[in-house]
């Protein structure tokens, strides 16, 4: 065994390598996003995932081995979700005044997200199992996987669809809102959170703190309402 391959065997078995690579890929992606003046097309999640996928593919590293290292970053999603309480508390006077539009937009958005996705995939001839996997794609991964599993879908594929939806929403929200002529950051942020959960929320915080706060509220509320409506809607298709 050569020195280089001995070193590789050591590194491949330690979480250090892929933890460092995750941060490196994100640091590169964030630099690019900043250099592009936070242009929505230069999405940091998309770039970092592409860079890491290339590294994993080139080194023949299985995802499970990668996750041994990356789990430390993944774990922080929980505390970060709790931390959304701080902007919510700070912006509470603004939020409280918008309770009625929040409830109306939540109901309309949650229904649209599920019905449009399932309807289009159904028109393309997707089987029931795939529809159940797709239905909760707009909510945060933990809730979406639970819904998918409960309906006989494939939770791990649901997680992939959730991330893809998040990236799509984060890329589309700014040009879409500009095209519609909507300048209300409460509405823009809320839409990002309903359509594309945490990744949309990350984008919203990049743009404006009020947008980020409303996205955070949308992410929490949409998770709750989608968990309630998806089983009812999917019962019709069974």
């Amino acid at each position: 065994m050569s020195e280089a391959s001995r070193l590789w065997v050591y590194l491949a078995a330690s979480p250090l390598l892929w933890l460092a690579m995750t941060l490196l890929a994100y640091a590169i992606a964030d630099r690019l996003s900043l250099a592009a003046n936070r242009n929505p097309l230069v999405n940091p999640v998309l770039i970092a995932v592409a860079v890491l996928s290339a590294m994993l593919w080139a080194s023949g590293t299985p995802y499970a081995v990668y996750f041994e290292g990356a789990q430390f970053v993944h774990f922080l999603l929980g505390p970060a979700t709790v931390a959304l309480a701080i902007p919510l508390h700070r912006n509470w006077p603004v939020v409280r005044k918008a309770i009625v539009p929040i409830i109306a937009a939540l109901c309309a958005g949650a229904l649209t997200a599920v019905v449009s996705a399932v309807g289009i995939a159904w028109a393309f001839g997707a089987p029931y199992e795939l529809l159940a996997t797709l239905a909760p794609k707009s909510v945060t991964a933990a809730i979406a996987m639970g819904i998918s599993e409960g309906l006989g879908g494939n939770p791990s594929l649901t997680a992939a669809l959730v991330i893809t939806t998040g990236v799509l929403g984060a890329i589309m929200v700014t040009p879409m809102m500009n095209a519609l002529g909507l300048t209300d950051y409460r509405a823009r942020g809320f839409a990002a959170g309903v359509a594309s959960h945490g990744i949309g929320t990350a984008r919203a915080f990049q743009v404006d703190p009020v947008a980020g706060t409303f996205a955070g509220i949308a992410l929490g509320l949409n998770g709750l309402i989608t968990a309630l409506i998806v089983p009812v809607l999917m019962a019709w298709l069974r």
Binding site: T22, A29, D30, A48, V49, L52, S53, Y63, Y66, F67, A70, G78, P79, A80, T81, A83, A85, I86, P87, L88, P101, I102, L106, G109, A113, S116, V118, I120, A121, F124, A126, L130, L134, K137, S138, A141, A142, I147, N154, S156, L157, A160, I163, T165, G166, V167, G169, M172, L182, A187, A192, V194, A195, S196, G198, I199, G212, A218, G223, L224
Partner: protein
């Protein structure tokens, strides 16, 4: 700093315990956010002259986490590649469904928000 991290973890822990104990369809961290929010509201009510949360270590830790929220989705995102086969098999339908559904959801949510907010404002106006 340690206390700030502890506050976040304890709220998440309490949220997980509540969600599992009561069998609620909400993830622990979302309940944890509700708990911390309630605590912050109560604190502001009881001690209106207390220093604002943003100036405390809890505010700094939260701002750091939220400023780098994108990073936290990268490990899960790297898992998409392991589903490349399924995604390719149902490619067209799935991709069209994801793109169109996300676009329509963004538009409907934002438009309903703005319309309903507008109705409220007109009612308030003299």
């Amino acid at each position: 700093m340690i206390e700030a991290i502890l506050i976040l973890l304890v709220c998440q822990l309490a949220g997980e315990a509540l969600a599992r104990g009561l069998g609620l369809p909400v993830p622990g961290p979302v309940l944890g956010m509700a708990l911390l929010f309630t605590a912050l509201q109560v604190r502001a009510r009881l001690r209106p002259d207390a220093s604002r949360v943003e100036t405390l270590p809890l505010g700094a830790v939260s701002a750091f986490l939220l400023a780098n929220l994108s990073l936290l989705f990268v490990p899960a995102g790297a898992g998409i590649m392991s589903h490349a086969a399924t995604l390719a098999e149902h490619g067209a339908g799935l991709i069209v469904a994801l793109v169109l559904s996300t676009a329509v959801t963004l538009a409907v949510t934002a438009l309903v928000f703005v319309k309903v907010a507008g109705l409220g404002r007109r009612r308030d106006a003299p």
